[in-house]
């Protein structure tokens, strides 16, 4: 074996339009943080460090959606600098809650919030990273699950496929032994069409899933819309249910537009 010391893989964390919650998940991994820092060279992570090492990087984590001309250009450079590019969270993966503008007139949005609209420079759409550059893996969630993040980083370093299931929240409920709240309490629950990852949190708290992990691999959105109608929801309510943190994910987008037309 060569006596040469192996270089630690370099990781970078980039932020676009977002709340910072997904990158905070890395700092919230209190039990794993120092081991991660031992295994990796955290080269660029402005939220945590002044030391901003230049690329290229082995792994790039991207949080947030693209909402400005400047960011649309910046993501191209980020892609060039990163061997493996991973998006973290609903903003980077599906445009985020700020994608609600995509159905509205953004100029009106600017006028509502800002007194001097000419100071504001923004795009009409809030779009996920994969609409701009090729992405190697999209980690779901609003916010992401920190254990899934650690698994994803570990798998990437080991060169194996990450264990991040794409089935629905329902399977997590079954595994936890939860009584189905949609059946027993008549609660409108997006669990059947939403990807697992949270650990079926909302149903475990007697609350319907609100879809923060986005669509599961093969969602039957039409069927869940009908079920919501049976539970007494009107089309406006169904539209809003699909139009939240993953509104621009195409399966949810299609479902919300169908209920809006009906």
């Amino acid at each position: 074996m060569s006596s040469k010391v192996r270089r630690k893989p370099r990781i970078a964390v980039f932020k676009f339009a977002s709340c910072d919650g997904c990158q905070l998940s890395l700092l919230d991994a209190e039990d794993e943080l120092l081991s991660v820092a031992g295994a990796l060279d955290i080269a660029y992570f402005p939220e945590a460090s002044r030391a901003m090492g230049k690329g290229p990087y082995d792994i790039g984590l991207v949080e947030g959606s693209v909402t400005t001309h400047h960011d649309a250009e910046r993501i191209q450079e980020v892609r060039r600098q990163c061997k493996t590019l991973i998006t973290i969270g609903a903003c980077a993966t599906a445009g985020g809650i700020q994608a609600l503008r995509n159905w509205k007139d953004v100029d009106e949005f600017i006028r509502i919030v800002y007194a001097t609209p000419r100071f504001i420079n923004t795009l009409k759409l809030s779009t996920p990273i994969a609409e701009h550059v090729p992405v190697d893996f999209e980690l779901r969630g609003c916010p992401i699950n920190k254990h899934q993040l650690i698994e994803l980083i570990t798998a990437t370093l080991a060169g194996r496929k990450p264990n991040v299931p794409t089935y629905s929240v329902c399977l997590e409920c079954k595994r936890k032994g939860n009584v189905c709240i949609a059946v027993s309490l008549g609660v409108a629950c997006l669990g059947p069409v939403t990807q697992a990852g949270c650990g079926a949190l909302c149903p475990s708290f007697d609350r319907g899933c609100y879809g923060c992990y986005g669509p599961m691999e093969s969602p039957n959105a039409e069927s869940i819309s009908n079920q919501f109608r049976v539970l007494g929801q009107n089309n406006a309510e169904i539209t809003r249910a699909f139009r939240s943190f993953n509104a621009w994910a195409w399966q949810f987008r299609k479902a919300s537009e169908e209920s809006e037309r009906t």
């Binding site: 905070l24 120092l34 960011d71 919030v113």
Partner: protein, 432 residues
Amino acid sequence: MSKQPTRTIKVDILARVEGEGGLYIKLKGDQVQDVKLKIYEPPRFFEALLRGRNFAEAPDITARICGICPVAYQMSAVHAMEDAFGVKVDGQLRALRRLLYCGEWIESHTLHVYMLHAPDFLGYQDVIQLAKDHPAVVQRALQLKKTGNEIVTLLGGREIHPINVRVGGFYKLPTRSEFAALAERLKWARDAALETVRFVASLPFPDFERDYIFVALRHPDEYPFNDGRLVSNGGLDIPISEYEANFVEEHVEHSNALHSVLKQHGAYFVGPLARYSLNFDRLSPLAQEAAREAGLAPVCRNPFKSIIVRSVEIVYACDEALRIIEQYERPEKPAIEIHPRAATGYGCTEAPRGILYHRYRLDEDGAILEAKIVPPTSQNQKTIEQDLGQFVPKFLKLPEEDLRWQCEQAVRNHDPCISCATHCLRVEIDRG
């Protein structure tokens, strides 16, 4: 007239803050000509996208303004809605909301004290470097932060964007026995918080004080989280519904965040220093004693010492959390009933970084017609710029890199949350 040299101090990407921003300072000789806290984080238009949404969605949607203080957004939102609908959440449900806020303060303050701010005082780039020389200190930090997150997770389901808060109360309530293990952890955390106060009190502080106008909530009996009147050290004493009659927001060109000013006074200051200086008498005896031991007077005007004040507030939050847990009895219902009506409601609570104001106008079905949100960082932007204007001239002889670092530290004193403020920071020092 002799031509004095000009110089600029620039920091393009300000590190160890939440969100994206920079700093630009222009000097002529030893005079500061311009200070701009530049916020280039893209706007996300929450006030606009809330229009047409149902009142019940506001706590979860506004939580997404900030991943560091989602509980604050949820609290201000539920209080505003309850105000509009004429209901008051009291007793154990109210106590549990305070407990949830304790968790967020512990988690957010510990993050700032050890991971974002302390490295400046000790000359480290980040907490990972700090951990190499002081592993025990960083381990304590991580476990303390984890305890705060454990409170939020137990009550809220997860640490970021918790799912259990609703208008009227909660979706599901914990049992007494679920708190048993947490209480043991909190007793450890309270001791760790006291050690934190001692640790930060030993850091070197620049001799720098300003006569701030402090603004915070004040409650008749409690250190403020959810309730109280808005008061200042300049004589302000108003109900929160009069916030907009006394404070105005201005839109400036270099920032995607609106600047807030107090009418007739201009810049004012919210956050731990304000809260502490206006409410020292409401802290628990243990927290007061910790402050005194650390050499803090009941009023603190040195923004660099905010790191001590935050640590004292961690002691308080641990103390208060333990008190709430000891007295907890599970109510029969997790929430009180809500009947929407056409009305306007106001909410103002103490986020870790200071007062967070929400106002909603609702129709008879509870749909949001208009929303207004003023986060703490946009209220502090002017004060941060003024701090730098007064601070920089005293340190002009420093080498460029040291001066830039000092300026960054002076900004980080305020724990700015740029994601909040745009619903950001770069440092540039211009010497021409």
